[in-house]
Amino acid sequence: MRIPRPVLARVFWRCLFLQAAWNRRGMQNLGFAYAIDPALRALYADPARRAEALARHMRFFNCHPYMAAAILGGAIHHEERVAEGEEPGSGPLQYKQTLQGPLAAVGDGFFWTALRPFFGVLGVAGALLVGWPAVVAVLLAYNAVHFALRIRLFRAGYERGDGVVGEVARLELPVVAGRLRAAGALLAGVAGALLLVPAAGVGGPAAVLTAVAVTGVGYLLLSRGVHLFPAAYAAALAGAGAALLAARLHWSP
């Protein structure tokens, strides 16, 4: 039996709640069971078989929330086979256990440490140059990419089952991530300067020196593992101290 499209759409909608009850015991287990439940209802008319299927999806599960869409689609693919008697009930579970780790690593590396930070700094640069419409545009662009990939992965998982691995490989996400990180570093420089030039311009030479010194020393210290919060208070203190000293020396504008 094939799952009707409206049911698949409902499963996809529910997968947006994957981390609603994230917990250290089963991590995304409740979210996964919640998402796949409409498909199980469609597949298993017998309440006992539905409960049995649901029980296997309430076991430990953790993946990147976007990439989990691929596993969710694939798990439904396997559940269809279980319902038809073509594979044992352990099939969907093995599929999930095999893929959750590798896809989590790919998703974290692409979405959380490359794509979203890239759009974050793009949003900062845009907001400073254009204002709030740039923030709206960046959110729309990010979500166009995010949802296109999430839907594509869900469909690929459902239609191809184990073949979703090939589909993920074809996307070359680690290669794209490297380019996005490089572009993001460049944009961070642009955004930092856009923020600092007007502020340092008002503050005079002391502010310019503070901006240059804190950016350079801050980068170095953060690279060596200095914690962000104390560094922030120290940077603000250093800036205030430099301004006070400049005023004392009649060096302010």
């Binding site: 009850a21 069971a33 961070a188 420089g189 930092g192 008002v202 560094a231 205030a240 400049a246």
Partner: protein, 231 residues
């Protein structure tokens, strides 16, 4: 009324941040202008949200590791800055912004503690769901998932207005009593923003991050200065 709006906004954003959707709306660059808009000063929200986005660019939820609650910190700081700016009649200036940010940043740490507590309590939801399934009530079992959205909402809805009220009271009180602090606070703002930019470059973990970041920084600063002079 405005604190109610801030609480609602922070609560919804906290839900969006992890439990539902994750569409970047809870990031500082989006949520701080929204908080500013809710209080009638979008530009003030941008002034606070832009450096906070850079500062917390590396705040991501990798595996089971919990980052600071950048959404809570950003809403509290932006709302606090706007309220303080309105009380002073100056709007959000760098002096107001840096005081609000430094006063509200610890709320991001407090938010992380609240997240840890939520995760612990969610374990009870998992136990409840397993029990419901064992009782033959699968619908109740899957519904348990949605109850997990309540605590992040409530924590953020309570803490963000508290942070905003704290900054909204302390910042004007300080600046009215010590008006000469504006100059040093401007310097403090420059220091904080410079560190935020450096933190963003570090968070991106690009192979050639340093030359790309500092090169773009220098070129943009030079162009900015030239354009400023031409004007």
């Amino acid at each position: 009324m405005s604190y109610l709006a801030i609480g609602l906004l922070a609560g919804l954003a906290a839900v969006e941040r992890k439990g539902f959707l994750q569409a970047m709306i809870s990031r500082p660059i989006a949520i701080a202008p929204l908080a500013g808009w809710a209080l009638g000063d979008v530009q003030g929200g941008i002034l606070v949200g832009a450096p906070l986005e850079l500062f917390w660019l590396g705040a991501v939820n990798l595996g089971a590791a919990l980052p600071v609650h950048e959404t809570l910190g950003a809403v509290a700081a932006a709302a606090g800055a706007v309220v303080a700016g309105q009380a002073l009649g100056t709007g959000v200036t760098p002096a107001v912004a840096v005081l609000a940010v430094l006063a509200c940043a610890p709320f991001a740490l407090l938010g992380r503690r609240a997240d840890v507590l939520s995760e612990r309590l969610n374990e009870q939801l998992a136990v409840h769901a397993e029990a419901a399934l064992a009782r033959g009530n699968p619908s109740a079992a899957v519904r348990s998932n949605l109850y997990g959205l309540a605590l992040p909402f409530l924590f953020a809805a309570a803490l963000a207005p508290l942070g905003a009220a704290l900054a909204g009271f302390l910042v004007p009180a300080f600046l009215v009593r010590v008006p000469s602090a504006s100059g040093p606070l401007h310097g403090a703002w420059v220091g904080f923003v410079a560190l935020a930019a450096a933190a963003a470059a570090r968070a991106l973990r690009a192979r050639r991050a340093a030359p790309l970041f500092f090169g773009a920084f220098a070129v943009t600063a030079l162009v900015g200065v030239l354009v400023g002079r031409l004007r």
